[in-house]
């Protein structure tokens, strides 16, 4: 799913003298701001905002997100309750703010775990090749053909519903995409001459993998991970919409929509605002992902043609 922005303007940029001593990414990052990578800039600003909201949720919440007061139920959006209140008289805004913690932490956990597992598995498989690789590829095929929802439901029956089990369920499937990327890269690298050279000077397999493969794979994995967060947020939301996520009264966005569905016509704000919250955070991380991809995709950086 690599997008490859090729633009004529870029193709006419002449290579500049190489900066030395600055890490590659910082250098490219600086360049991206010069080139007005507005997606990335906006993505970073919004993501910082959302993460700050999640961190400082207890301070920002105007009311206790789980405190029920039936006398205050179904108050439409107003000055006191900007997003209104729900069927139990809880403040929707406070619940959305509190919910950002659940949604973001779930999404980040999924991405981090599956990226780690996937990268390692793919690297090993690509590096060793042969039978290991064949078995690995079949496992990936099987998992891809296996509806995630079954895993999620099965795991929820084994371990019970809850945010952590949701993470486990999604990770079970998600790691495959990282594994495929890192496997592909590993296979390319395996045949590179400098890896041969590294072997020749007596590096063992483990050293080669961590000293030579990993740094090369990391940028691809970073791109994939940043593109992934947005869709993971959506994925978690749909599973908790089906009742597999965090348990009430924890304010999970997907579950809030599921609850609000019943009151859609009477108190539409109960479902609309959590939906917008999901969309806003998914959009933010999608923009961030897009930006990071534009920034790090080596095909873009290297395709600076001179004539």
């Amino acid at each position: 799913m690599m997008e490859k922005p090729v633009s004529v303007t870029e193709s006419l940029n002449y290579p500049r003298p190489k900066l030395t001593g600055i890490p590659k990414y910082l250098k490219v990052l600086g360049r991206s701001f010069n080139q007005k990578n507005s997606m990335l800039t906006l993505g970073i600003i919004f993501a910082t905002f959302i993460i700050l909201v999640a961190i400082f949720a207890p301070v920002l919440e105007p009311y206790d997100p789980t405190k029920m007061d039936l006398a205050l139920k179904f108050i439409p959006p107003s000055a006191a309750h900007i997003f209104g209140t729900d069927n139990m008289g809880r403040d929707v805004l406070s619940r959305i703010i509190e919910g950002s913690r659940i949604s973001l932490s779930t999404a980040f956990m999924v991405v981090i775990f599956s990226a780690c597992i996937g990268t390692l598995a793919g690297m090993i498989s690509g590096f060793w090749g042969g039978k290991v690789d064949m078995i690995f590829m079949r496992i990936v095929d099987v998992l891809l053909a296996f509806p995630t929802i079954i895993f999620a439901l099965a795991i929820s029956t084994v371990l019970g519903t809850g945010a952590i089990n949701l993470v486990i369920a999604i990770c079970c499937i998600q790691w495959t995409s990282y594994a495929r990327v890192s496997r592909g890269e590993a296979i390319l690298l395996k045949n590179a001459e400098y890896i041969e050279a590294a072997k020749a000077i007596g590096n063992n397999s483990l050293q080669i993998m961590f000293k030579y493969f990993l740094p090369n794979i990391v940028s691809k994995i970073l791109i994939l991970a940043s593109l992934n967060i947005g869709s993971i947020i959506l994925y978690c939301a749909s599973l908790s919409f089906l009742g597999l996520g965090a348990q009430p009264p924890s304010p999970d966005w997907g579950a809030m929509i599921s609850d609000g569905k019943e009151y859609m016509r009477y108190a539409p704000w109960m479902a609309i605002f959590p939906g917008l919250a999901i969309a806003a955070s998914a959009l933010t991380f999608n923009m961030l992902g897009d930006g990071v991809r534009d920034l790090l995709d080596p095909r873009m950086c290297d395709s600076v043609k001179t004539e």
Binding site: T9, L12, K36, E307
Partner: protein, 330 residues
């Protein structure tokens, strides 16, 4: 000899990040009928941009000023539709890098035939064209027959692809053929073959060529006249013999000295970036005989021998005999 193509004060700049980057600076060239003009220079000096400007193939962010007269008509003022009548017909081109210039998902034969066929061509025309393609393939030393016609580019070698590209250029019998770096992507051993093909073309088809190359040896072999470009400017232009044997501009001298047969002496430094050009002569910071005048003033182009021009301040105040002395000593 009548002039086929005349380029007068061609300036091309690109808008990059809201800034104008000036690539071609007052380029003026002439190509006569049946004449081969080679344009030589380093990678990135604007040779190909010149070719693209003639073909109207510059990207959208290019700003072109100046005149390009083709048989007396200014083609820079033509709109796309008018120009399309000329492009591919009277003015054709042979692109560089054969490996990427062919559509990988199309039979090579069709790619050649496409140059001739219109959307509404009849079946009869199609058959004729196919026959013609076979013929041209044969004349270029490619295998004749349906098998070759239906090959995909990935099934051919680099040299074969190059010939297919040439076939695309010549099938319409153009009056002007713009050949862009024909030897760039070809094996050293095949280079001679390719150059020979162009020599034959020149002799048989009688079409004029703009032969863009950085390969001086090839240029010497094919061209009637040579133009040397540096940093978007024509710094020297003249008959092939004269330019090769008595180069006037310090840059040309450097280029020729760097040829393997002439000693393989590499010039100092690199071509400056277009965004950061020296104020005076663009070659001043690499030139061995730089003086204050070079750094501060842009030189003018002067005719030094008959038909042999150079753009260098050294020649500003010298007379012709001194000039040749100067040329001989260096």
């Amino acid at each position: 000899m009548s002039v086929l193509l005349e380029i007068k004060d061609l300036n091309v700049s690109f808008t990059v990040d809201d800034k104008q980057v000036h690539i071609l600076n007052n380029v003026s060239l002439e190509i006569n009928k049946n004449e081969v003009l080679a344009v030589i220079g380093e990678t990135g000096c604007g040779k190909s941009v010149t070719g693209s400007a003639i073909l109207h193939l510059l990207p959208d962010n290019a700003i072109v000023t100046g005149d390009i007269l083709f048989k007396g008509k200014d083609i820079t003022k033509m709109n796309e539709q008018e120009f399309r009548q000329l492009r591919g017909q009277a003015i054709a081109s042979v692109p560089q890098s054969p490996s990427t210039s062919l559509n990988p998902l199309m039979h090579v034969g069709n790619q050649v035939a496409e140059c001739v066929l219109e959307n509404n061509s009849s079946e009869d025309d199609k058959k004729k064209t196919v026959a013609k393609v076979h013929e041209i393939f044969a004349s270029l030393g490619l295998p004749r027959g349906e098998d070759f016609y239906q090959n995909y580019p990935c099934e051919l070698s680099g040299g074969m692809c190059q010939r297919v590209l040439i076939a695309m250029g010549v099938i319409t019998h153009p009056e002007l053929l713009i050949v862009d770096e024909p030897t760039k992507a070809v094996d050293w051993a095949l280079r001679k073959d390719v150059v020979d093909v162009f020599c034959e073309l020149k002799n048989e088809m009688k079409c004029a060529m703009l032969f863009i190359t950085h390969d001086i040896a090839a240029a010497k072999y094919v061209a009637d006249r040579i133009a040397v470009m540096y940093c978007g400017e024509v710094v020297e232009i003249g008959p092939t013999d004269s330019v090769i044997n008595q180069p006037l501009h310090p840059y040309t001298k450097g280029l020729i000295a760097s040829m393997p047969s002439k000693g393989f002496k590499v010039m100092n430094g690199f071509m400056p970036s277009f965004q950061d050009l020296p104020k005076g002569c663009r070659f001043s910071d690499r030139c061995e005989c730089t003086s204050d005048i070079c750094i501060n003033n842009e030189p003018e182009i002067v005719e030094i021998a008959e038909g042999h021009f150079a753009k260098c301040s050294i020649y500003k105040n010298l007379n012709v005999s001194e000039l040749f002395k100067h040329a001989a000593t260096s």
